[in-house]
Symmetry: C2
Subunit: 334 residues, 2 copies
């Protein structure tokens, strides 16, 4: 059963639970806001639905509530940080803000952070930076959860990648994983008795399939763009772990639990660019042209990345955030 | 008929032609080297096979042989440059070198260049930076050559994206376009009477197809990862054109010829990182683990991006570079 919870109620429940686990008032507030906003924006998998797992990770000691990131080395516009196993969303916010500070000084700022934790929704950091007027590129590695192209055992991560730019009062935010469909999505399709809308992996005969159960059983989910997404996953993992001096997907996977990840946060300051006055008009033209695409089927609306989020946000603000009754009861009991 | 041309002969033929078109000795040497190395590395489509088109662009005035890039604005670690319609490969080399200089000073350097031209093979700049010890991220926009997801007319570019890192004496270099297969590849499959190895676009009924002729006729080539590659193409175009202050895919396409592109070159200095001594060992572990993947079918070798290039390079160095007889005669007559 789906129930509807207001943003305020959800956030204060999260904050109550985090405070009980040793989060300071400020950190409980920040962290509960991230989980509640992700839910408000419709990214339930990395909001309310993920909250109980986040709590388990804290209880297991993988996530340290009061740990603060520590500077390892500054090279000027690039800094290496140790996340000290602090909460991923708090470390992620910190790294985004630090990258923006660096970008204000010299145009671009990059923070590479190792020994951090799952950042939940990558879009959080893209929206944050873009709303302050920065372009943003960021990514995280993960445990191995996908086979390399041509292989059948998990050796690469789905390593979500985020690109964001300011757009009027909102933003254009692309937040995507290197797997075509997450296991969460595949299980949802299976539960609903549906096929994936396009092939999402291989069946036991090594053929592409849209039957979610077949992909779940072979565990050969498709990287985006076949060999291209496999290569991109590898490069993102290498860059994050090498520059941060943190663990790679290979090393994370050896731990048996997904913690101590490596992440990259790059902010680009648009404020002082030579063509500042041109930016808004040029961007409007790009989006206008994009949206005026001739739809393949009548009635299809061509949407830019993040466009739906704004609508969902308004709807959930009005009607409450839809939550599975069981999940909400689990949370209330935490 | 395929003939085999030595690297040296190919390079000196290119240099002769470029010198006749007003390239200085230094620029003819640099530019002919890029086209010849791309061919040596097996990227014929952006080497010898593309050279006649490059010459046509010069003759049509889209590419200005002696134009030099000019600094528009420096923000410190981020610089905006005007390519002044100079040769794409020379502007690309310049921007890569400049990004590396900036990275040496403060860890990361970014050059955004507008009003430049087709960079030919993106890998050129990745290999260049990685061989000097830098991690590299770069991309270019293009004219519109692909429909946005859900659409049927060309509104987005295939916008190649490059990631590179040093690896021993060589490099790991990922160089890929946002379209699953280029039109060049589709035409080759069609000519050879073959299907694409995986679905590469839509047929007239809006279904995924592996028949190259069907894709060529609908012009609905597939973005990598379906909607994900469509979104990534849009973001790369926005970032390059906005930060460079150059033309977007939309604006380029209005010109009727593909010139005055926008590109981004980001170099990251690995030399002064805190974990410098760990980098090589960690990278070796990542690649070893990747290559030890369990192949989906016996005999498949799991290869990292750029691994094949090194083999092709050695082979072409030994046997000569394979060239279509007709293309070579066209070049000799230039």
């Amino acid at each position: 059963m789906t129930i509807y919870i207001t943003y305020e109620t959800m956030k204060s429940e999260f904050a109550r639970i985090l405070a009980n686990l040793g989060f300071s008032e400020r950190k409980a507030d920040l962290c509960s806001e991230i989980f509640a906003v992700n839910s408000l924006d419709g990214i339930y998998s990395h909001g309310v639905n993920r909250f109980p797992t986040f709590i388990t990770y804290i209880k297991n000691g993988y996530v340290k509530p009061e740990a603060e990131p520590g500077l390892i080395k500054s090279l000027g516009s690039l800094e290496q940080w140790n996340g000290n196993l602090g909460p991923g969303p708090l470390n992620g916010l910190f790294a985004t803000e630090r990258a923006m500070e660096l970008a204000l000084k010299s145009g671009i700022g990059m923070v590479a952070i190792g020994n951090t934790n799952h950042w939940m929704r990558g879009g959080t950091y893209g929206w944050k930076a873009a709303r302050k007027g920065f372009a943003f590129i960021g990514w995280t590695n993960t445990e191995a959860n996908m086979p390399a192209w041509g292989a059948k055992d998990f050796r690469i991560g789905n390593n979500p990648l985020v690109f964001a730019v300011p757009f009027g009062k909102e933003a254009i935010v692309l937040d995507f994983a290197m797997s075509q469909f997450s296991y969460g999505k595949l299980e949802k399709y299976q539960l609903d008795g549906k096929s994936t809308p396009y092939p999402g992996g291989f069946n036991k005969d090594g053929k592409l399939t849209s039957v979610p159960g077949e992909i779940i059983s072979t565990r050969r989910a498709l990287p985006i763009g076949y060999w291209k997404g496999s290569g991109l996953s590898l490069m993102l993992d290498i860059m994050a772990s090498v520059v941060a001096g943190g663990l790679s997907t290979y090393e994370i996977s050896k731990q048996g639990a997904e913690y101590s990840l490596s992440q990259v946060f790059i902010a680009i300051s648009l404020e002082n660019l030579a063509n500042r006055e041109r930016i808004e008009a040029a961007l409007n033209d790009i989006i206008k042209n994009f949206k005026e695409s001739d739809p393949a089927e009548p009635g299809i609306e061509i949407r830019f990345p993040g466009e739906n989020v704004v609508n969902t946000r308004e709807e959930n603000r009005k009607n409450g955030i839809p939550v599975n009754n069981g999940i909400w009861e689990t949370i209330l009991a935490l």
